[in-house]
């Protein structure tokens, strides 16, 4: 069975990993090849702050809430082993700040120690009157080694034809493979700074401005990611100085100690935004034989947050394909 995974961001690599984990001992031979024009550290995933948190509300999309929680639990379980360092997984607590009272977010049961902010905590953030505190996870792509493990396992540079199944994890560029009017860029620009005294993430929410268009400060492994912008429809991957100033001024107001932080670099990336994630099978009739495709793209600003749940679901769909093609263990009796 030959599987071609398109895309080497967190979605592509984790999907490849899930398929490998679940099927390499029962489907033989199983070749998984990852094709991409960008690999770490140049993918969209690499620019992400690496913070696990879904958007505040899932708008009834309970499948996605379930996948988010699965991902959290998966990452949490990795903490009991020192391997978590290589995986770039660690716990970090912080503040979600709102300009008005709001209903509890969809992830309140997934994270640890979720509670409302006390008066004293709100006093730390003038302009915000409501919010929550909880402990969440970070998945920082710090050691290319973490994902490199997968590269060595699966990577094959030569583009070959004749894959049995194509796993489409091409993020924003899926539109080039198959038009999708629902898929748009959600441009984000960030500033990476050296401010190692910060040990909490701070995410602000302004329901009028929209998600991630107000300041956020997310300390990482060694640097702090400062944002945010979320410009739907903007395809530019160039850093913009107006955006930089807006982000920086707002962040310094939120966290005065940032004034002394050393700015290391700016970065811009395009989140693969879609109304909801496209995670489904498609049989494409082209030429002689139909091609089985599993789509797994459109994760917007929560790809890291949901990656494992989606990868496992994609693997489940792959299992269906295996059954249909008679390539499963049953077929060998």
């Amino acid at each position: 069975m030959r599987v071609a995974v398109i895309g080497a961001g967190v979605i592509g690599l984790s999907t490849a990993q899930s398929i490998y984990e679940q099927f390499h001992s029962t489907v033989s031979p199983l070749t998984i090849e990852v094709y991409a024009d960008q690999f770490t550290p140049l993918t969209t995933s690499d620019g992400a702050a690496g913070f696990w948190q879904p958007y505040l509300y899932d708008k009834g999309n309970v499948r996605e809430t379930k996948w988010n929680k699965e991902t959290f639990d998966y990452l949490l379980s990795s903490l009991s082993s020192p391997e978590c360092v290589k995986m770039g997984v660690f716990l970090q607590s912080g503040y979600n700040l709102c300009t008005e009272p709001a209903p509890d977010p969809s992830f309140k049961d997934a994270v640890l120690g979720f509670r409302q902010l006390t008066e004293r905590e709100l006093q730390m953030f003038p302009g915000y009157c409501f919010g929550w505190f909880n402990t969440a996870l970070m998945v920082e792509v710090i050691h290319p080694q973490g994902l490199l493990m997968l590269h060595q396992l699966l990577f094959n540079q030569n583009l070959k034809t004749g894959a049995d199944v194509i796993i489409n994890c091409s993020g924003l560029r899926s539109g080039e493979l198959q038009p999708d009017p629902d898929l748009k860029p959600g441009r984000g620009q960030i500033v990476k700074v050296d401010a190692p005294w910060l040990k909490h993430w701070i995410i602000t929410h302004d329901f009028k401005e929209g998600v991630y268009n107000t300041p956020y400060i997310i300390p990482g492994y060694r640097l702090v990611t400062v944002g945010g912008t979320f410009q739907v429809g903007n395809w530019s991957e160039q850093n913009n100085s107006t955006d930089h100033k807006k982000i920086w001024d707002a962040a310094c107001q939120l966290e005065p100690s940032l004034k002394h932080a050393r700015i290391v670099e700016d970065w811009s990336g395009l989140r693969p935004v879609r109304g909801k994630i496209r995670l489904e099978r498609e049989t494409i009739k082209s030429g002689a034989a139909p091609v089985e495709v599993i789509h797994n793209y459109g994760h917007g600003g929560y790809g890291l947050t949901i990656h494992r749940g989606c990868a496992q679901e994609a693997a489940r769909l792959f299992g269906q394909v295996v059954e249909q093609k008679g390539k499963g263990p049953k077929a060998r009796l």
């Binding site: 082993s81 190692p196 005065p256 100690s257």
Partner: protein, 338 residues
Amino acid sequence: MKTVRVAVVGAGVIGFSTAVRIAEALPICSVTLLAEKFSPDTTSDVAAGIVLAQEFPDIPLERQRRWFKDGFDHFFAIAHSEDAPEAGIMMCSGCQIFREAPANMKPYWSDIVIGYRPMTDRELKRFPNHKFGQAFTTLKCECSSYLPWLEKRFRKAGGRVEQRRVNSLQELSNDFDIIVNCTGLGSKTLVGDDQVQPIRGQVLKMDAPWLKHFIRDVDGMTYIYPGIHSVTIGGTRQVEDMRLHVDEGDSRSILERCSRLEPSLRKAKVLYQSVGLRPGRRSPRVERELVQMGGRQVPVVHNYGHGGWGVSFSWGTSMDALELVRQCLQEIPLQAKL
């Protein structure tokens, strides 16, 4: 009016906090801080500086609460200002874990730290040998930055600093009108206080920047405190042990105990190790007395014996010391204001 000459002996967190308090509040005083050792060679420099409290046996609870609150509010204000990185102050969340549930679920400091709550069952799963935990947000004060920052503040308020080993309070009586003793462990010999005893503590500084929460076993022996540039792990509590060199057996024990609480530490590099001798005492001595020195009664204010709680109680006890100096001032006009 004649200036009142005040000597503050000791350049640790107690000495500098007290000196700053006096210099800033009492312009009639000219304050000189004298010490043999300065940062980074003081006991305070070894401390991780996490702001926590315990109950001292001989001090009324209300007074200890006030000490702790004073300190917390002080560090909190700096943490949220532009001064935070220079002063070495940061906010830190984490937990204190117990093998057995404590008798007192709401210690006196629980409404002074931020967001205090019992840990949830899911959070406790990470610590299978512990049945109960307290989660909260507090502050960390790194003395290797904080002491130089205090010194700047002290000099700005007109204070003078002199590097000198003081062997007896007597030798200061000619040049000073009031003596403030912040010599920590040194008080054992300087003022003959037998209650003071060294409690040796060893720590390792680890390169583990992915650790963002503190974890402290309430037995006080095992703790992990992420700091600005390194993570301090420890520790030991060896009473009457004056060894200042690193003990390899202690290193192994600390690494083992801390790695059990935080497995990722096994992948962390050790940057360096330090040893400090906590100025142990049943309770801190914060009081004044008149000492006969060469024909006159010299007011002496004591502020020492904070054990492993110096940083936490530095700002609060220095306020009390300031008040005691004020009281001494009121008595001086009868003698020195000629």
